[in-house]
């Protein structure tokens, strides 16, 4: 079956995230108060052909470990659309 999978890749906590800082800055300059700890990463969506949602998740996990996320700087999380 075809399964849609959502991946979120976020810079490790503890690592400086200048893009997140810049956005926090911009938001406060636009008048949005009380915004903190902004972190910016990647959202990746894909359709995977797999026998089950769990199999899809496992396969995408391997993709993240091998390619999609950089183990030095990024954490990832996966969400599988379950019909």
């Amino acid at each position: 079956m075809k399964i849609r999978v959502h991946v979120r890749i976020i810079p490790r906590t503890g690592l400086l995230d200048p893009e997140g800082q810049a956005i926090a800055h911009a938001l406060s300059a636009l008048g949005f108060a009380g915004v903190g700890d902004v972190r910016v990463g990647k959202a990746i969506e894909m359709t995977v052909e797999a026998t089950s949602p769990d199999a899809a998740e496992a396969s995408v996990r391997t993709m993240c470990e091998r390619l999609l996320a950089n183990p030095v700087t990024e954490d990832f999380s996966i969400k599988v659309e379950r019909a």
């Binding site: 400086l16 200048p18 810049a22 390619l67 999609l68 950089n70 030095v72």
Partner: protein
């Protein structure tokens, strides 16, 4: 003659001037396609600058899986000379042939300008023709050159003298001397043996004295003499 392979990945765009710089330094420069699985008996390999695979996902992330990288790794493991310039440096980090990662510049913009860097080590494969602590002015052009590593790795890098090039301020500088927010002002690294090197600046753009001070030329002459004296594999 010294055989130097310059790898072209899809999206590489500095291979021509890199080949020319090698040839000018007296090397036998060969262009090697990313699909090749051996380096044609090269003594050294250079991964040139550019945007391999469009730098999509992360710069260097896709290129590190190219078929040729198996041969690059083999050469590196055998103590051979491996250089990564700009995108090549990013690929070497992604391939974990050098530690850490190169992330988007702190100011979130591409940076194309001359920078002043200090040669911190002169016993690597590409810096022997420079004086210790010599400072040279050399171009950079990158969007993702901010070196990051965890504190332990960073300490180890300093302890093992693996920082080969560092951004430094010189008199009269009125732009940030560190152009991208790199940790410890790191512009280039090597492995402890000095045989695997990667750096953001582009020495191949500063080899022709007709166009300005040819301060980059000695990266390539150093490489030639190091290989000639047989230190590398």
């Amino acid at each position: 003659m010294t055989r130097v392979a310059v790898v072209r990945f899809p999206g590489s765009n500095c291979e021509t001037e890199t080949l020319a710089a090698v040839a000018r330094a007296g090397g036998d420069a060969m262009l090697v396609d990313y699909r090749e699985t051996h380096l044609r008996h090269a003594d050294a390999v250079i991964l040139p600058g550019g945007f391999s695979y469009g730098d999509y996902l992360r710069s260097g992330a896709i290129a590190r899986f190219a078929p040729v990288m198996t041969a690059v790794r083999a050469l590196a493991d055998a103590g051979g000379a491996v250089l990564g310039i700009c995108n090549g440096f990013q690929i070497l980090c992604e391939a974990q042939l050098l530690p850490g990662a190169l992330q988007r510049n702190a100011q979130q913009r591409f940076a194309s300008r001359p920078v002043d860097v200090r040669i911190e080590r002169t016993d690597t494969i590409c810096t022997s023709d420079y004086a210790a602590d010599e400072i040279i002015r050399i171009p950079i052009a990158h969007g993702e050159g901010r070196f990051v590593a965890d504190p332990d790795t960073l300490d180890a890098l300093e302890l093992d003298h693996c920082v080969m090039l560092r951004y430094v301020p010189v008199d009269g500088t009125d732009a940030p001397y560190n152009p991208n927010g790199s940790m410890n002002d790191i512009a280039g690294l090597c492995n402890p043996a000095g045989t695997i090197v990667g750096f953001m600046p582009h020495p191949e753009r500063r080899v022709d004295p007709a166009l300005g001070p040819g301060v980059g030329q000695r990266f390539f002459t150093s490489l030639m003499s190091r290989i000639a004296t047989g230190v590398a594999a």
